[in-house]
Symmetry: C2
Subunit: 329 residues, 2 copies
């Protein structure tokens, strides 16, 4: 494990450039802002990028990865880059299945953006044999942004030896070497390291299974509430991220909802990115979030919808649906 | 100005890779750990590095830069990389003179590591025409580490257009573009951004001239105290950094002094790096440091020396010397 002063994007850059060389062929799963970002990043470093795309809001199709990987009899695919939880759309990709196909291929590394999945959903890195996992401090780890993590498998360290992309600040071997001496190659964000210690103690006390169950419960309560308010969910139930829920309202403006929520209730909902700007709003339920927070958000959402003249709901239906989920889990 | 989630090393990497291409010839001033680091970094990115070296503890000789630059009639030198305040040795390099020779050359960019000089000593970036200045949050800006800054001249932005080194997380054009919209390309360390706002207000209230005078006073008091205790200063007076003072004790062990200072007085003195390990200790007086802090450090140093059986001093001489400086300035 290597930790650096960087955002999640910095951690992913480290996770990619340490194990590849210019011209290497990589498959990149693209079904949202972050998948697209890793394709751009890979191209910026001269990798030969092949996108496996799905519509934003839909999950990646593992079958498309399988076909490419099975067809690659000359083992030219050096890495498969997948965003586990696509924060821009609230979609959880089927990493387990995609990873199985990568393992069948045998040569390619699997590099995972786990920024909003690690600490929210089960990601058994070692037993699945994930080669590179990148994440950041401000999501499942509940502390401010600025600390990026990268977890590296023995197979990826082997690839490191021949990988030629230039690197210095993000040269993970330097972090590995100094970590063994309990120090860092470059000044770390010390306040975040200390905060992380507290966060990890909290996570240990709660227990991973309970943490995952809590995120599942928060997601279910949010989704049931949104359905009860007759608002369309952007991602399908079977590919819903336990980190964030995207909503695509039709008879009321997304940006107006965000504005009222912020002004009257001091609650910030994320908007859509790129072509989804103005079309969706997103409710985060990742990390330091409790049942109470969801009830506050849904309650404020109901009040905001009412203020905006939204008529397709029974007042209180959202809270009732969320409370039902909490009572059952 | 671009700000990123990174340490000072990350900021320097950004300051170098955005404006150069593999194979470009660069002169790198090397008279300490950080100068050496920029030479390593430049080599890691495939630049053709020519070191201008001086012994650690001595300043770079501007004349050596002049000779190389004057001799470069074909204008092959693309950049001159200089560490303004060499933190590892407490030496302040003569940036003004070196920069004048770079300006006479006309083509080369000057790229400056100002991590421990910005906010401590006058660095008139625009009037001197410095092309790239990199710094970090945890030094002159008085806040925790994790926010790196890069300041870029119009000439450097011109060079950006043809610079081919691969970059994504540190692609400064992305920061420039989003800064114009008051946002960031990637998640910034928000807590540090808010802290910086407070720090900048404090700096505005104190005034740059007063800040520089304070650092000068802290440096003078520290150096006079060290001399009064008959301990050898590592850097000469005429090249002393207002950020940090390195001391090279002879009849008493540097590491023992550091250990007693930490154990009995809860004061952390930095040690030597690389081949200076165990040979020097360093007293930082950069950023949020007052006259009182220097008196506390010198007082504790005297007490530690006494405990270690050091006999070449008159007890109280260090404090007396520091107090004399404070009374005069």
């Amino acid at each position: 494990h290597c930790a650096s002063s960087a955002s999640g994007t910095g951690a992913m850059e480290a996770g990619i450039i340490n194990f590849l060389s210019a011209g290497d062929r990589v498959l990149v799963g693209c079904n949202g802002k972050f998948g697209d970002r890793w394709a751009q990043l890979s191209a910026a470093f001269g990798l030969e990028v092949e996108k496996i795309s799905a519509e934003w809001g839909q999950p990646l199709d593992p079958e498309q990865f399988r076909e490419k990987l099975v067809g690659d009899t000359e083992k030219q695919i050096k890495a498969v880059i997948v965003t586990h939880s696509e924060t821009s759309t609230g979609v959880l990709n089927d990493l387990e299945t995609i990873n199985r196909y990568v393992k069948d291929h045998g040569e390619a590394l699997i590099i995972v953006d786990a920024v909003t999945s690690l600490g929210a959903v089960n990601l058994p890195i070692d037993s699945w044999g994930i080669d590179v996992v990148a994440s950041g401090s401000q999501k499942g780890y509940m502390i401010p942004p600025g600390l990026g993590f990268v977890c590296v498998s023995p197979k990826a360290w082997e690839a490191y030896k021949t990988a030629k992309l230039p690197r210095f600040y993000f040269d993970l071997a330097a972090y590995r070497k100094t970590a063994a001496k309990n120090t860092n190659p470059f000044t770390p964000p010390v306040n975040l390291v200390i905060a992380l210690q507290t966060a990890l103690r909290m996570m240990k006390a709660e227990g991973l299974d309970s943490i995952f169950a809590r995120h599942q419960r928060l997601m279910n309560a949010t989704r049931e509430a949104i359905k009860a308010l007759s608002l369309p969910l952007f991602a399908p139930d079977q590919a819903a991220s336990p980190a964030i829920t995207a909503v695509a309202p039709v008879s009321v403006e997304s940006e107006q909802i965000r504005s009222v929520m912020k002004k009257h209730f001091d609650i910030i909902l994320a908007g859509g990115q790129d072509h989804l700007k103005g079309k969706i709003f997103r409710i985060g339920h990742l990390g330091f979030v409790s049942d109470r927070d969801i009830l506050a958000a849904i309650g404020a959402l109901e009040a905001s919808l009412r203020e905006l003249g939204y008529e397709s709901m029974t007042p209180g239906a959202g809270i009732a649906a969320a409370a039902r989920v909490f009572a059952q889990s």
